[in-house]
Symmetry: C2
Amino acid sequence: MDWNRYDAGACSVSRTVGILGDRWTVLVLREVFNGVRRFGEIQEHLGVSKSVLTQRLQQLVDDGVLERQPYQEPGDRARHEYRLTDRGRDLRPVLVAMMDFGDRHLSGGEPPVRLLHRDCGQQVHAQLVCDCGHRVETGREVAIAPGPGAEPLAG
Amino acid sequence: MDWNRYDAGACSVSRTVGILGDRWTVLVLREVFNGVRRFGEIQEHLGVSKSVLTQRLQQLVDDGVLERQPYQEPGDRARHEYRLTDRGRDLRPVLVAMMDFGDRHLSGGEPPVRLLHRDCGQQVHAQLVCDCGHRVETGREVAIAPGPGAEPLAG
DNA sequence: CAGTATCCCAAGCGATACTG
DNA sequence: CAGTATCGCTTGGGATACTG
């Protein structure tokens, strides 16, 4: 199934969903963002089968989101770990926005984890803001407009 | 598969992924955010089968993200449409964050669609900010901390 | 139009065994 | 440890036909 052939209308969402893949992919990313970078650790945290984890990590590497870094602790054999690329780091707002939603609506008001700003200790959220700095509070404040990459819909 | 039993570490992400479900669910949400609210229109835009669309809409209603609103245009027969609930609207930052990522990395720099702030015409993005207003630019600025809803991991 | 029901096929999963 | 290979089994998909 080609996840990009639909509705040029907002296909950046569709393309990103294509990279986020399925549930496991997102949870793998969450682990990596949390500093869990080794195959075995990720597998243990998620309870996912090895074949699935292998496939998801491979896909994330192929998509340029993760990279496989060999490293060797002295006196130990060579290992490698999965690290975020620059591109991968740009997925953080997606994860944080998901976390915000879950905290608000699916955790009984008791967030299991918090993301804190080191400078001030305050909690970090994904906020809608416009390029000149206004916070966007409601959906009524936004309008959809075709961008430069828009294609006319067939049909 | 219970998508919540893993790693209390950041399970708000996991719970939200459980609601976003699969790719189709996200694309359905995108349509609704874009004002496409009727079964047939959504189906046409997405090219999804009726059975799948039915199931996804039902799931979104069950999850409290959409609600089914009957309405009747004069001289026409009764219809209904799917509308975002307040909870559903809170998913917007997730969609916008995905759109931002896709625009930056997967669209060759030519965003197919833009989200504009009505007040000023500037583009809207999902930005990481902390509660006292600082913009968070890099991952190094954030720290993970257990929240009030944290549970110790078994094992 | 907006679904529901059925069918059949393909993809995806975990479990297990095996490898460097 | 970090995979790869294989294997049934289940799930989930589109297509189609049917219903109010």
